[in-house]
C-alpha cells in the first residue's frame, strides 16, 4: 500500500515540477552569460581590454559607466593601443569617442549609420557585405547582451573625425576668422534669473551669458555637430586662396601687387560671403552630385557649380559633413571689376502715403525742405526714378551726397541717368572733387559720352558721364551733386534714375 502511495505521490510531484519547468524554461531560459553584469564589469574582467580600462580610469571617465545609462562601448584591444598616439586631441574626447549612450544592435545597420558618441562627435558605422566597421575599423567581436548594454571589440582605436569648422580652421585661416567674427556673447535667458524692473521698465537679470555663433544659427552649424544638418563644403586651401588674391591684385593693378594688398574688409564683406554661398551645400554630397547641374546652397539659393573646377579625387568625410577642394580658385572679376550702380529709388524711403524722405546716409542741404518724389517711367531702370522739384526760378542752394561702398581704386567713369525736366545746372563731384558740370535741360538732345559714344534721349531720360580717375584707395566713394543755378529752363530741380561707377580702361 505504501508503495502505491509513493508512486502516486511521485507522479504528482512529476506533473507539478514538469509544468513548473515549462514556465521556468521559457521565461528563465539562457538569457545570456552577461545579463546580470554591467558592460564595465565585463570589460574590466577581460585582460584583453586592460589598456582601455586603464585609460578610462586614468582619465577619470569611469563615472560614465556607473550611471544607470545604457551604453554601447567600442572597446579597442590592448594591441590597438600599441601605436596609439593621442596627438593633440584631448585624450578624454578620444576615449569618449568609443562610447555611445544608447544600445546599438549593429547588425541592424543595413548600409551605414551615423552615430553620436559620448564625445558629442559623430562616428560612421558601415556595413560592407557581412562585416561591420566604425570609421573604417572592423568590428571583430559582438558581445552578448549585458545588464546595461553591450560592447564591440576593435583591433584599432578610433580617432574622431574633425568637423567642418575644425577642418577649415586648419586649412583656411581666413574662413576660420570669418566664422569666428559671428561669435556673440548673449544673455542666456534660460539660465538668467529675473531680479527686478528698472526705471524704464526693463527686466534686470542676475545674468548668465553664453557664447553663440550667428554663423551656426544663420547658415550651417559648422562648429556644432548634428546628424541631419550635414553639409558639403567646397573649399580652397590657404595657398589657393592667396594665389587667387594675387591674381586679383594683378588685375586690379596700381598699388595692388599681391594678396596682401587686397583689403581684408572687402574679403570679409564681399568675397567670403560669396565663397560661403557658392561653396556650402545641404547634405552629404558625392562628386557626381555636382555634375547634375544647379544645387541648393545653404542659404536656400540655387547655385551653378563649376564641377570641372572641383578636385574629384579629394573628398574628406568630416564628422558633420563632406569636404571637397577646388582645383583652382579664382576671384570672379565681377566682384571687383564690374560697375557699381546706385538706383535713385534706393536713396529714398517712404515716410507716408506717396511721400518720401531721404534715406540715412544720404546727406542733403538746401532745397528749402522740399521732399523727393518717386516717379514711374517706362524708360527708367526698374521703371522708376526719384525727382526733386525746386519750383520755378529756384535760387537757393542744394547739395546731395551719398556713398557707393567697397570701391576698389582705379579709373572709372561716373554715369548719371536722369530727366531733362525739371532742370538746372548741377556740379557733380566724387570724393569732394568736381568731375563735371551739366545743365540738365541739355539732355533733351543727344550727348556725347567720355567714351565717345552718343547718349540718345529716351522718353525724356538721358545719360551724362564723367571721367573719374582720382580714386586711389579702396573704400566707400562719396558721390555728390550741387545745384549751381537755373539753367536753360526756368522749372528747376533734378531726377535720378541711377548713378553708376563703371570701370574705365586705364
Amino acid at each position: 500500500m505504501l508503495h502505491k502511495y509513493s508512486i502516486l505521490v511521485s507522479i504528482g510531484i512529476l506533473i507539478i515540477t514538469a509544468c513548473q519547468d515549462d514556465w521556468n524554461s521559457y521565461y528563465y531560459r539562457d538569457p545570456g552569460e552577461n545579463i546580470e553584469r554591467t558592460v564595465w564589469e565585463v570589460i574590466s574582467d577581460n585582460p584583453d581590454y586592460s589598456r582601455f580600462v586603464e585609460l578610462i580610469r586614468e582619465n577619470q571617465l569611469e563615472s560614465i559607466f556607473t550611471t544607470d545609462r545604457t551604453l554601447t562601448v567600442f572597446v579597442p584591444t590592448n594591441e590597438a593601443f600599441a601605436d596609439f598616439v593621442p596627438d593633440s586631441m584631448d585624450i578624454k574626447i578620444l576615449l569618449q569617442y568609443h562610447i555611445i549612450e544608447t544600445l546599438l544592435n549593429i547588425p541592424d545597420v543595413q548600409k551605414f549609420r551615423i552615430i553620436e558618441t559620448s564625445s558629442k562627435k559623430f562616428a560612421l558605422l558601415e556595413r560592407l557585405n557581412d562585416t561591420f566597421t566604425i570609421d573604417g575599423e572592423e568590428i571583430t567581436y559582438f558581445s552578448p547582451l549585458c545588464k546595461d548594454g553591450r560592447y564591440y571589440e576593435l583591433k584599432k582605436a578610433l580617432y574622431p573625425r574633425p568637423n567642418l569648422y575644425e577642418f577649415v580652421s586648419v586649412n583656411s585661416n581666413i574662413i576660420k576668422r570669418y566664422i569666428d567674427q559671428f561669435e556673440r556673447i548673449v544673455l542666456d535667458y534660460d539660465k538668467s534669473i529675473p531680479l527686478y524692473f528698472d526705471n524704464d521698465g526693463n527686466t534686470v537679470y542676475d545674468s548668465v551669458y553664453t557664447k553663440i555663433n550667428l554663423f551656426d544659427q544663420n547658415f550651417f552649424p559648422v562648429n556644432t555637430e548634428f546628424r541631419r544638418t550635414m553639409a558639403t563644403i567646397v573649399i580652397f586651401d590657404e595657398e589657393q586662396y592667396h594665389t587667387a588674391l594675387d591674381e586679383m591684385a594683378g588685375k586690379l593693378g596700381g598699388a595692388f601687387t599681391d594678396h596682401h594688398d587686397i583689403p581684408e574688409s572687402w574679403q570679409f564683406d564681399v568675397l567670403l560671403p560669396r565663397v560661403i554661398e557658392d561653396g556650402i551645400f545641404e547634405g552629404a554630397l558625392q562628386y557626381s552630385d555636382f555634375t547634375r547641374g544647379r544645387l541648393r546652397n545653404i542659404a536656400g539659393d540655387s547655385v551653378n557649380v563649376d564641377f570641372l573646377n572641383i578636385d574629384k579625387n579629394f573628398r574628406l568625410v568630416a564628422s558633420n559633413g563632406i569636404i571637397f577642394k577646388y582645383n583652382n580658385y579664382e576671384v570672379p572679376e565681377a566682384m571687383y571689376l564690374l560697375e557699381r550702380k546706385v538706383q535713385g529709388e534706393h536713396l529714398v524711403r517712404p515716410v507716408g502715403a506717396g511721400t518720401y524722405g531721404w534715406k540715412q546716409g544720404v546727406v542733403t542741404s538746401g532745397g528749402a525742405g522740399r521732399a523727393p518724389t518717386l516717379s514711374f517711367s517706362a524708360a527708367a531702370d526698374n521703371d522708376s526714378l526719384i525727382q526733386l522739384d525746386f519750383g520755378s526760378r529756384f535760387t537757393d542752394q542744394f547739395n546731395l551726397e551719398f556713398y557707393i561702398p567697397q570701391v576698389f581704386p582705379r579709373r572709372y567713369r561716373l554715369e548719371w541717368k536722369t530727366n531733362s525736366r525739371p532742370s538746372g545746372i548741377f556740379e557733380v563731384y566724387v570724393n569732394d572733387v568736381v568731375v563735371g558740370q551739366i545743365d540738365l535741360f541739355t539732355l533733351r538732345n543727344a550727348r556725347q559720352s567720355v567714351t565717345g559714344a552718343l547718349f540718345v534721349p529716351d522718353r525724356g531720360l538721358n545719360r551724362v558721364d564723367f571721367l573719374v580717375d582720382h580714386i586711389t584707395e579702396y573704400g566707400d566713394v562719396k558721390i555728390g551733386i550741387k545745384y549751381i543755378g537755373q539753367g536753360t529752363s526756368t522749372n528747376n530741380g533734378f531726377a535720378i534714375d541711377y548713378f553708376s561707377l563703371i570701370p574705365f580702361p586705364l
Binding site: 506533473i15 507539478i16 514538469a18 509544468c19 515549462d22 514556465w23 521559457y26 521565461y27 528563465y28 531560459r29 539562457d30 538569457p31 545570456g32 545579463i35 550611471t67 544607470d68 545609462r69 545604457t70 555611445i100 549612450e101 544608447t102 544600445l103 546599438l104 544592435n105 547588425p107 541592424d108 543595413q110 549609420r113 551615423i114 552615430i115 553620436e116 557581412d130 559582438f142 558581445s143 552578448p144 547582451l145 545588464k147 546595461d148 548594454g149 553591450r150 548634428f226 546628424r227 541631419r228
Partner: protein, 1056 residues
C-alpha cells in the same frame, strides 16, 4: 431500533393477513435475495407487487424473500429503509430465484426521477440522452452562477468560463461546436421559460459579457437536466445546441422548513504574475528599440527625457523606481454569500420563498459582482383535477469590471505589463507642501511612453453593469381524465441591463486615435419576452407490458429588445463631470437598436415501452421563426409561411432484461441506445432575412439607404445527428459505465460571403457551409470502497471531439480577428488558427542570406529576424516571399479531448470531495504574450526578451528588438500559439453534517472549500481557461480578461 422493530411487526402482521387472503390465488412463487452493492444481504426490505392488492413482506436476516403473484408479468417494488433507494423490478415469470441489488441512498439510481420536457420520468426509462446534475452540493460551493457547476462533470459538455470575473458566465458547448456565426450555446429553460442568449447584449467595454444565468442563485436550483439527444427535437429550431432544463425552488412537502446558509472567503490570484523586465533591463531594451528606429540618438533625451533622466535633473524621482505594476492590479479580495429560504404549506397549497445576497469581489482591484435575489413559488391544488403554480423571481445585480487587453489604454493587464518599471503610481500633489515633505499623493499622469497608469485604470476608470430582471410564470396542470392531462404555461421575462463606463483623463493615455482625453459611456438594453406553452399528454399502461406516453402541444415566444447607446467625449479634463451632457458636441455619439423576433412551434412526442426491454421515443416539431427568410428552402409552407420541420427518434434496447442475461444478477442495467434526429438553429440574425433601410445624413439633409444585403432565402441551420451508445450499471448502480458515439452533420450553416465592392455591401449572409462533429463520450462511476461508514467514489468522464468543415462557400473563408486570423476550410477544424509557421530565428547573416526571404513589402529577413516557413507562392511553389501563400492551419482553440474526474470520500457525516477538470489538444493564441514580447515599441516586456537575438551567431528563439517591427517578426504565427492543455483541480470540499439535532437546529452543516487550488499547464499566461466572448471565432484567443482566482471559503448551513 425500537421504531424499526415496530415497523417490522406491523409489516409482518399485514403480511399474515393479506398473505392468507391471497394464498388461494397464487400461481407463481418467486424467491430471491436482496443485497447491497457489497453483496451483503439486506434485512427488512419491504416487498410488494405493483398494482396488486397484497400486503408487503419484508426480507429476513439473510435478505431472502419469497413472494407469490397471480400474474405472469408484474412489477416488484422493493422499499428499503433509509440507507437504500426504492427499486422497481419487472418480473416476467421466467425465473424462480432472483437476486436484487439495491442502490445506496447517496448514489444515482434508475428509479430516480429525472426532469424531462413536460414530465418527470424514471432515469432508467429515459431514452434520449439526458444528463442530470446533482444539485446537492450547490449550497456548499462558492460559485455565483449555476453554469459553473457544469464544468468537468458533463460528458461531452465543455464549459469554459469567460474569465475570473465573478458572475461573468461562460460558453457551454454540448457535443462540440455547432455553428460558425449563430449561437453555440444550449437553450436554457428556467421553470419552463426559455432564457435569451447572452450574446444579444453588446458592450461598450471590450471583454464585457452578460451572463443570463447570473440571475439565478445556485441555492434556488432544485434540478437540472441537460438534453442532448433526440428530445431536443421538441425544441426544433432552438434545439440543435442542446437544451438545459432548470427547475428552481420547489416546495417539497407540507412541513415548514427554514434554511439559512452563509459562506464567506477570500480570493487570490491563482496563477503566477508574469515575470517582467526590471527597470534596468527595461531601460536597456527601450534604448535598443529606440536605436533600432533609425532616429538619431541625440534626439532621444528630447523625446523621452524620463528615459535619460539623471539624478540631478528635475523630476528624477518620477523615473527612479523599479516598480512591479502587476501588484497594482491584483489584490486578495473577499466574498460573502447569504441565503435564506422558507418552505411549507398544507394539502391545498404549498409555497417556497427565498432571498439571497451575494457580494463577490474580483482579484482585479475594484471589480466584483453583487446580487440580490428573491424568489417565490406557490403551488395550489385548486381542485382535485387542477393544480396551479406560480413563481416570481426578482433579481438585481451589479458588476464592476475592467476592459480586456484589446483596449490598451484601459486594460489592467496590458497597462501593468507594458508600463515602465521606472515609474511609480503616484506623483507630488498640487499642494506645494507635498514636494517639500516629499509626499506622493496624486495619481501619476500617463508617461511619455504612452502607457496609462495602472493605478488610474484600477481606481479612476470605471465600467459598471447593473441588471434588474423579473421572471414570472403561471402554470396550470389539469387532469382531464385519469390518463389525459393538460398543461399550460405563461411566462414573462423582463430584463433591464444598464452599462456605464467612464474613461478618465488623469493618468490615462488619450483615446480614439489620441483625440479624446476622457469619455463617458452609457448603454441600456431592455428585453421583454413572453412565452406560452400548452400541451396535452396521455399516459397509459397496458397489462404492465405496454407503456405509452403521448404528448402534443404548441408554444410561442415573442421578444422585444431595445438598446440605446450614448457616448460623450472630451468632458471637463478634471474628470469631475461625468454626465453625458458634459461632452463636446462635436464628438458625441448616440445610437441604438430595436429588434423583435418571434418563435412559434407545434410539437409532439411519443414514448413507448415494451416489456421493460424495448423503449421508443419519437419527437417532432414544426417551427416558425421570424429570423427565417420567406423564400427559405427545406421548409414546408402553411399559408405561404415557411415552417421548419424537425424530428427525432430514439430506441433503447435493455439487453440486461433479455432472458440470457437475467441470471446475471449483478448486472443492474445494460442498454444499447440509438438515436437519430434533425434539429435546427434559427439564430441566423434577426434582420439578415429582410431588406430594410437606415437613416443617414447627407450634407444638410437626411435620407434612407439600404442597410444590408438581405437574403430572403435564409433558412435554418440544421443538425442531422445520430447517436449510438451503451450504458451499463452493476451492483445496485455502484458501478456505472457508458459510452456514446455521437455524429452530428450540421448543414446550411450561416456564413457571410464577401461581395464585390460595387454592390455597396461587403458581406452577404447565406446558408453555405457544412460541418461534422464526431463525438466519443465515455463516462464511468464507481464506488470503489464501501466499508462500513467509509465510502470512496470515483467518477470520470471523457470526451473526444473530431470536428471538420465539410463544405464552405469558396472552399475556405479566412476571417481576421484582432491579432490573428482564423480559417474555415474544407477538411479542417472549424475556426482553425491560420498563420505562418515560426521556425526560430536566423542566427547569422549568412543563414539569412541563404534563406533569401522577403516579407510582403519586399523587406529582407536578416540575422535576428524570425524564420518563417516559405510554403508556397502564386505558382504553388515557394517564392521567397513570406505572405498569405505561406499561411497554414496552426491548430484550434477547441480541445480534442476533455473531461473531468470526481473523487469523494466520506466517513460517517464527514465528507471530502474533489473535482478535477482537464482539457487536452487545445491551442491558445496568447495575445498577452504577443504584446509582451513583440519588442516593437517602448512597452515593458517579459524577461523572456532578455534572450533576444543580439549578435552574429546568437542561437535563440527570440527575434531581435526592432521599433515598429518593419519586417514582421511578430506577425501571427505559431510563435504565439501555445499548448492550452491543462489539468485543473476545480475544488476540494470538506463538509461535516451534525449527526443529530444540534441545539435548536434541525440540522447543521459546516463546510469548507478551496476552489481552483492547482492548475497544471504548460500555458505561459495567467490562466489557460478563458472565453473572450460568445463569438466562436475568438475561442482560444487570450485577450487578457481577469484570470481565475483561487478561493478559500468556509460556510455553514442551518436548518430550522
Amino acid at each position: 431500533m425500537q421504531y424499526q422493530e415496530k415497523f417490522r411487526l406491523f409489516i409482518l402482521g399485514l403480511f399474515l393477513i393479506t398473505g392468507l387472503n391471497s394464498f388461494a390465488q397464487d400461481k407463481f412463487t418467486i424467491s430471491g435475495h436482496v443485497r447491497n452493492s457489497q453483496n451483503e444481504p439486506i434485512e427488512g426490505v419491504s416487498i410488494s407487487l405493483e398494482g396488486q392488492l397484497m400486503s408487503s413482506l419484508i426480507t429476513g436476516q439473510d435478505g431472502s424473500f419469497t413472494i407469490n403473484s397471480g400474474k405472469r408479468e408484474f412489477w416488484i417494488i422493493f422499499t428499503p429503509f433509509e440507507k437504500y433507494k426504492t427499486r422497481r423490478v419487472f418480473y416476467t415469470g421466467s425465473r424462480e430465484d432472483i437476486t436484487v441489488y439495491l442502490t445506496d441512498i447517496d448514489l444515482e439510481a434508475g428509479s430516480d426521477m429525472v426532469l424531462d420536457i413536460g414530465l418527470e420520468q424514471e432515469r432508467r426509462n429515459v431514452v434520449s440522452s439526458i444528463h442530470t446534475i446533482n444539485t446537492r452540493d450547490f449550497d456548499y460551493l462558492p460559485y455565483q452562477s449555476i453554469d459553473q457547476f457544469f464544468q468537468g462533470i458533463l460528458p461531452g459538455g465543455l464549459y469554459t468560463s469567460h474569465s475570473g470575473l465573478p458572475g461573468s458566465g461562460g460558453v457551454l458547448n454540448l457535443r462540440g461546436q455547432t455553428s460558425l456565426f449563430a449561437s453555440n450555446m444550449p437553450l436554457i429553460i428556467v421553470d419552463g421559460l426559455p432564457l435569451e442568449h447572452g450574446s444579444i447584449y453588446t458592450s461598450q467595454v471590450t471583454g464585457g459579457n452578460y451572463n443570463p444565468l447570473s440571475v439565478i442563485a445556485p441555492q434556488d436550483v432544485s434540478g437540472i437536466s441537460i438534453l442532448r439527444g433526440a428530445s431536443t427535437a421538441l425544441y426544433g429550431a432552438k434545439g440543435s445546441n442542446g437544451v438545459i432544463l432548470i427547475e428552481t425552488l420547489k416546495p417539497r412537502d407540507i412541513n415548514t422548513t427554514i434554511e439559512f446558509s452563509f459562506k464567506a472567503g477570500m480570493n487570490s490570484l491563482a496563477g503566477k504574475e508574469l515575470p517582467q523586465l526590471n527597470a534596468r533591463q527595461y531601460k536597456t531594451l527601450a534604448n535598443e528599440i529606440l536605436a533600432s528606429s533609425g532616429s538619431p540618438e541625440e534626439h532621444y533625451p528630447l523625446l523621452l527625457p524620463g528615459l535619460y533622466i539623471r539624478p540631478e535633473d528635475d523630476g528624477y524621482i518620477r523615473y527612479s523606481h523599479d516598480y512591479n505594476w502587476q501588484q497594482e492590479i491584483f489584490e486578495n479580495s473577499y466574498f460573502r454569500d447569504a441565503y435564506f429560504s422558507i418552505m411549507g404549506g398544507d394539502a391545498i397549497g404549498r409555497y417556497a420563498l427565498s432571498v439571497g445576497y451575494l457580494d463577490h469581489d474580483g482579484v482585479f482591484k475594484n471589480t466584483g459582482f453583487d446580487r440580490f435575489t428573491s424568489r417565490f413559488t406557490g403551488t395550489f391544488n385548486m381542485f382535485e383535477w387542477l393544480r396551479i403554480s406560480m413563481s416570481a423571481n426578482l433579481v438585481s445585480s451589479t458588476s464592476l469590471f475592467k476592459a480586456s487587453g484589446l483596449t490598451k489604454e484601459t486594460s489592467p493587464i496590458i497597462t501593468s505589463l507594458a508600463k515602465s518599471p521606472m515609474q511609480f503610481p503616484y506623483q507630488f500633489g498640487a499642494n506645494p507642501f507635498d514636494a517639500i515633505i516629499r509626499q506622493l499623493t496624486e495619481i501619476e499622469e500617463v508617461d511619455e511612453f504612452g502607457i496609462s497608469n495602472p493605478k488610474a485604470v484600477m481606481e479612476l476608470y470605471e465600467a459598471k453593469s447593473s441588471n434588474t430582471r423579473f421572471l414570472t410564470s403561471f402554470k396550470a396542470e389539469g387532469n382531464i381524465t385519469r390518463d389525459l392531462s393538460m398543461n399550460s404555461l405563461v411566462a414573462v421575462n423582463i430584463n433591464s441591463l444598464r452599462q456605464n463606463a467612464f474613461l478618465p483623463n488623469q493618468g490615462m493615455e488619450l483615446y480614439d486615435n489620441l483625440e479624446v482625453w476622457n469619455s463617458s459611456k452609457t448603454q441600456t438594453s431592455n428585453l421583454f419576452s413572453i412565452f406560452n406553452d400548452n400541451y396535452l399528454q396521455y399516459r397509459k399502461s397496458f397489462k404492465n407490458i405496454h407503456h405509452l406516453h403521448v404528448m402534443a402541444g404548441a408554444k410561442w415566444m415573442s421578444n422585444h429588445f431595445e438598446e440605446d447607446v450614448a457616448i460623450a467625449k472630451n468632458l471637463n479634463p478634471n474628470d469631475q463631470f461625468v454626465f453625458l451632457q458634459a461632452g463636446s458636441n462635436l464628438l458625441n455619439e448616440i445610437g441604438g437598436d430595436i429588434r423583435n423576433w418571434n418563435w412559434l412551434s407545434a410539437y409532439s412526442r411519443i414514448n413507448y415501452t415494451l416489456l421493460d426491454r424495448y423503449l421508443f421515443e419519437i419527437n417532432a416539431s414544426g417551427d416558425l421563426s421570424s429570423n427565417i427568410g420567406r423564400e427559405a428552402s427545406d421548409v414546408f409552407l402553411i399559408n405561404n409561411i415557411p415552417y421548419g420541420a424537425f424530428y427525432s427518434g430514439a430506441f433503447s434496447w435493455r439487453i440486461s432484461r433479455e432472458s440470457f442475461l437475467l441470471n446475471v444478477s449483478s448486472l443492474e442495467d445494460w442498454r444499447i441506445n440509438l438515436e437519430y434526429g434533425v434539429t435546427g438553429n434559427d439564430d441566423v440574425g434577426t434582420r439578415n432575412n429582410r431588406d430594410y433601410y437606415r437613416f443617414t445624413l447627407y450634407r444638410e439633409t437626411s435620407g434612407m439607404i439600404p442597410a444590408s444585403a438581405a437574403n430572403t432565402a435564409l433558412g435554418f441551420e440544421r443538425s442531422n445527428f445520430y447517436t449510438l451508445g451503451t450504458a451499463i450499471s452493476l451492483l445496485g448502480n455502484r458501478f456505472r459505465f457508458s459510452f456514446d458515439y455521437h455524429n452530428t452533420a450540421i448543414s446550411d450553416m450561416l456564413v457571410y460571403e464577401r461581395l464585390d465592392s460595387y454592390l455597396g455591401n461587403e458581406y452577404y449572409p447565406a446558408n453555405n457551409a457544412d460541418m461534422v462533429n464526431r463525438v466519443y463520450e465515455f463516462n464511468v462511476f464507481g464506488r470503489l470502497m464501501n466499508a462500513g461508514n467509509l465510502t470512496f467514489d470515483l467518477g470520470l468522464n471523457l470526451a473526444k471531439i473530431d470536428n471538420e468543415i465539410t463544405n464552405i462557400a469558396g472552399g475556405e473563408i479566412v476571417t481576421e480577428m484582432p491579432g490573428f486570423s482564423v480559417i474555415n476550410r474544407i477538411g479542417e477544424k472549424a475556426n482553425s488558427f491560420y498563420g505562418y509557421s515560426y521556425e526560430g530565428v536566423f542566427s547569422t547573416t549568412k543563414e539569412a542570406h541563404a534563406a533569401n526571404l522577403l516579407n510582403r513589402f519586399g523587406l529582407p529577413f536578416t540575422a535576428g529576424d524570425a524564420k518563417f516557413r516559405d510554403i508556397s507562392g502564386p505558382d504553388g511553389e515557394p517564392d521567397g516571399i513570406i505572405n498569405d501563400y505561406d499561411k497554414m492551419v496552426l491548430g484550434s482553440g477547441r480541445p480534442d479531448l476533455f473531461g473531468g474526474m470526481h473523487v469523494s470520500i466520506s466517513y460517517k457525516n464527514l465528507s471530502l470531495s474533489t473535482l478535477w477538470q482537464f482539457v487536452y489538444g487545445k491551442e491558445i493564441f496568447n495575445y498577452i504574450r504577443y504584446q509582451n514580447e513583440r519588442m516593437a515599441d517602448l512597452s515593458n516586456q517579459s524577461i523572456a526578451t532578455l534572450r533576444r537575438w543580439s549578435y552574429e551567431g546568437h542561437e535563440t528563439d527570440m527575434p531581435k528588438a526592432k521599433m515598429g517591427d518593419p519586417v514582421g517578426n511578430s506577425a501571427f504565427s505559431s510563435r504565439w500559439l501555445e499548448d492550452g492543455s491543462y489539468v485543473r483541480c476545480q475544488n476540494i470540499m470538506i463538509s461535516y453534517k451534525m449527526p443529530e439535532r444540534f441545539t435548536f437546529f434541525n440540522d447543521l452543516t459546516i463546510f469548507g472549500n478551496v476552489v481552483n487550488p492547482f492548475t497544471f499547464t504548460k500555458y505561459l499566461g495567467y490562466d489557460p481557461e478563458f472565453s473572450y466572448s460568445y463569438n466562436t471565432f475568438v475561442q482560444g484567443a487570450d485577450y487578457g480578461l481577469m484570470p481565475h482566482s483561487r478561493r478559500i471559503m468556509l460556510g455553514v448551513k442551518i436548518g430550522l
